[in-house]
């Protein structure tokens, strides 16, 4: 190249698209770094693909910010956890938790559930009491009274329970809760509703509503609610790890959830480093293989050249996607298999291009001089040929990156992604398979696709910005 690296840089920097590409790539890397630091590496198997982990999340609800555009305010899904407790002794010993939450909505919450984790006790099993105080001051005492079952005989104290999976009470399904509400309605409003009627009418309206003139619980009491959790214990060393109260709503988080209740924002974030990883590893390996073989083929000539070119011909004559599908299906859905297959079918085009460039570069006189002074072929290829094609190779490497990201996304969409590593393509595949598009779950379909587009586009922009730098003829054309 007949101009310095500084010229090249300024040439690159004049184009607006390359600036945009660089800015985007910095952001992508920033997010990926954050995810790598804050997510466990086994996120896919340990959290994302584990339905238990998402049990308390709402299924298939839009992001909460959609409420700003809507005339009817839907209740936000709340998962309220606390591990701050206080031990008290007033005749009986209790461990107390307090949960406060705000409810502002035009529609009643869908359900409520209560969970308790990490319980240790030494003597009689503890008893849990819940009391809900509404913003208007009315109180539902002993909304839930739940006794922890006795440990099986033969076990020695301390008894440790609810470590792996918590004690979970789904309130609408609990007879105790129904009875408690019936009692509350009787004493507070003189109502004669039976527990069964309460269940059929939906108990949320009694938990979060107040009666209108006809005695129907249609008004939602807005404001700050308080849930008091008292765990009655019978030994002073008993402990409770944390409690959780879930108010089932119709909107959740920044990105909404899928039909399994998975928080899409979390999955989408994890997709950043995975996409970049696949893109970079594949493009690097592809360019290494492609350029080494291309330089060898062009410089050595003869039988080596012939062999490499015939292999290229065959690879170029194959339709890529069907072969990719075949190989990944046979070899197994593993991220490394996908990368290897993508590299295997990616290098041939580059080899052909580099070979033709090397054939030209080979004619230069200084190469002849090198040969005359006894330089080895390897030396000449590495020191004289490679630097001449290096800028082109670099551009191609950037150009291959979105290709790899898109190919992986396509494979994932066809259901051939690595199941241990959630990607944007896989999130879309789930959305397609479960019929989310036909239900109009746009928050599930649009964001992952947009992320794929933006990521690919930023590499395309950079490659486009580099093109006039490495191909001076294009510079004149502008």
């Amino acid at each position: 190249m007949g101009f310095s690296a500084r010229d090249a840089l300024s040439e690159f920097w004049t184009s607006r698209t390359s600036k945009m590409g660089v800015a985007l790539i910095v952001i992508l890397f920033g997010i990926s770094a954050y995810v790598l630091v804050s997510y466990p590496l086994n996120f896919g198997t340990q959290y994302w693909n584990k339905p238990q982990h998402w049990a308390d999340y709402p299924k298939g609800v839009p992001p909460s910010w959609t409420q700003t555009f809507s005339s009817v305010r839907k209740p936000e899904h709340m998962i309220l956890t606390t591990d701050v407790s206080e031990k008290r002794t007033r005749g009986i010993m209790t461990i107390d938790f307090n949960i406060n939450f705000d409810l502002r909505a035009d529609i009643f919450p869908q359900f409520t559930s209560f969970s308790l984790s990490d319980l240790t006790f030494y003597d009689t099993p503890p008893i849990i009491h819940l009391t809900l105080t509404k913003p208007d001051g009315s109180k539902i005492e002993d909304l839930l009274v739940e006794s922890v079952p006795y440990p099986p005989s033969g076990q020695e104290p301390p008894y440790v329970k609810y470590v792996e999976s918590p004690l979970r009470v789904y309130m609408p399904g609990s007879p105790a809760v129904r009875n408690a509400i019936a009692g509350y309605l009787r004493t507070e409003f003189g109502s004669t509703l039976t527990p069964l009627e309460i269940r059929n009418m939906g108990l949320e309206q009694f938990l979060f509503g107040s009666p209108d003139e006809e005695g129907e619980f249609t008004n939602i009491v807005e404001g700050t609610y308080n849930l008091e959790v008292q765990v009655e214990i019978f030994h002073e060393d008993d402990t409770v790890g944390s409690v959780k109260f879930v108010v089932g709503g119709q909107v959740y988080g920044f990105m909404g959830t899928d039909t399994l209740g998975r928080d899409l924002a979390v999955g989408l974030l994890f997709g950043f480093p995975v996409a970049l990883f696949i893109g970079f590893i594949t493009s690097t390996l592809t360019t290494i293989v492609g350029s080494v073989l291309g330089i060898t083929s062009g410089y050595m000539g003869g039988r080596v050249d012939e062999l490499i070119q015939r292999v290229c011909d065959v690879l170029n004559t194959l339709p890529q996607l069907p072969i990719l599908i075949f190989l990944v299906f046979i070899l197994g859905q593993n991220i490394w298999n996908i990368i290897v297959v993508l590299v295997f079918f990616g290098w041939s085009g580059l080899t052909i291009l580099i070979r033709s460039m090397v054939l030209q570069a080979k004619q230069e006189q200084f190469i002849e001089a090198s040969i005359a002074s006894g330089a080895s072929s390897r030396w000449i290829m590495a020191r004289h040929i490679f630097p001449q094609v290096a800028p082109f190779i670099f551009t191609q490497m950037i150009f291959f990156t979105p290709g790899a990201i898109l190919a992986e996304a396509a494979l994932s969409f066809l259901g051939l992604g690595d199941p241990t590593l959630p990607t944007w393509g896989q999130i879309l595949e789930r959305g397609f398979q479960t019929g989310a598009i036909f239900l109009g779950y746009w928050w599930w379909i649009i964001p992952p696709g947009l992320l794929i587009v933006v990521t690919s586009l930023c590499f395309v922009f950079i490659a486009q910005g580099l093109e006039p730098v490495v191909n001076p003829r294009l510079r004149r054309m502008r």
């Binding site: 339709p319 969409f413 598009i437």
Partner: protein, 348 residues
């Protein structure tokens, strides 16, 4: 005569590609132990059925075990399981080459046949319809727009289409399809979400054709959106390259009208390299068609492929990979012939 010979050589080399691909596929199937597993499962299933049949007729359990073992041995020999997989290669390749593709596990034709051969015969025309229409449309758009913007490089239109082609490369075809379905079929309810005909399909031929047209709008737009960007950009670059040649200047200096220069001196000369790129880009359109069919439930080969993946139907996947390679090779052959017509200088 020389032309015929060079085309023959090309055809033979493409045939070689098909054979090499088949060989590689079968080597992979054999070396990974996949084909042993597959045939083993087939034999076990047949043995199970055979044993069931015997249970009613023979009372002595030892006798049954002996006969079943004998039958299993015969079957294993018939499928070549008594030999290492390498020995089965010629037979396997021959079977595929003669379209003896076996049966599909969970897909069937409209008339109920599960033979992969019949399935492909039924689905293939639908895929060809989709691909050729979209490729023809994209080619038309690419050549008209590409030559137009090449006359004014750097103009606003030129920049718009440069960005358009970057986007059309970066947007996954299938995702465009998903968004189209959501916008036009789910939210606006103006176009059908998928399939090829309404159910039940209209009986009258004109209504039937219109129904097909209505169902084809979204899949074809999706594919055209994905393919046309590359066409436009390619045509533009090739035309620009040619327009800088001396003979074009001479033609202009002679005072020939600009559209004549464009048609005879630029586009005609730029056509062969454009076609070369088309040949190379064909693989992309086949891949795009597989994904588009999946998204829109277009009952062609692509959807069949997806069904095969979802139901883990190994035999069907192998057969389809072969057929897609074959289609691709045939399409390339057609383009090679076109190439020779376009560029008489070509020699092999």
């Amino acid at each position: 005569m020389r032309l015929g010979r060079s085309l023959l050589i090309k055809a033979l080399s493409l045939l070689m590609v098909v054979v090499v691909t088949l060989l590689l596929m079968n080597v992979i199937l054999g070396a990974t132990g996949f084909s042993d597993r597959m045939l083993g499962a087939l034999v076990n299933e047949q043995v199970r059925v055979y044993r069931q049949g015997l249970l009613g007729t023979i009372a002595n359990p030892d006798e049954i075990t002996r006969i079943v073992a004998e039958h299993e041995e015969t079957l294993r020999r018939a499928y070549g399981l008594d030999q290492p997989w390498v020995m089965r290669l010629p037979q396997m390749i021959w079977r595929v080459m003669t379209f003896d593709l076996g049966e599909a596990k969970s897909s069937q034709t409209f008339t109920g046949s599960t033979l992969i051969k019949d399935l492909i015969a039924e689905r293939l025309p639908k895929t060809v319809l989709l691909i050729t229409t979209s490729v023809a449309l994209s080619a038309f758009l690419g050549i008209t727009i590409g030559t137009k913007i090449a006359t004014k490089p750097g103009s606003r239109l030129d920049r718009f289409f440069s960005n358009y082609s970057a986007f059309s490369y970066a947007i996954p075809t299938w995702w465009t399809g998903l968004v189209f379905i959501m916008v036009f079929a789910v939210f606006l309810r103006v176009l059908p979400a998928g399939g090829m005909y309404s159910s039940p399909p209209p009986t009258e031929s004109i209504a039937r054709f219109l129904d097909l047209l209505l169902h084809a709008i979204l899949p074809i737009s999706t594919l055209v959106l994905a393919l046309s960007g590359a066409w436009i950009y390619m045509t533009r670059t090739m035309v620009l390259n040619t327009a800088q040649q001396d003979f074009v200047n001479v033609a202009r200096a002679k005072g020939l009208p600009e559209n004549l220069v464009m048609r005879r001196y630029i586009v005609r000369v730029a056509a062969p390299p454009i076609l070369t790129n088309v040949i190379l880009g064909l693989a992309g359109s086949i891949g795009g068609a597989i994904l588009t069919e999946t998204v829109f439930g277009w009952p062609g080969m692509g959807l069949l492929y997806w069904n095969a993946i979802v139901t883990a139907d190994e035999g069907l996947i192998i057969a389809l990979t072969f057929i897609f390679t074959l289609i691709y090779v045939i399409a390339r052959m057609i383009l090679e012939v076109l190439y020779v017509i376009l560029d008489p200088r070509v020699e092999y």
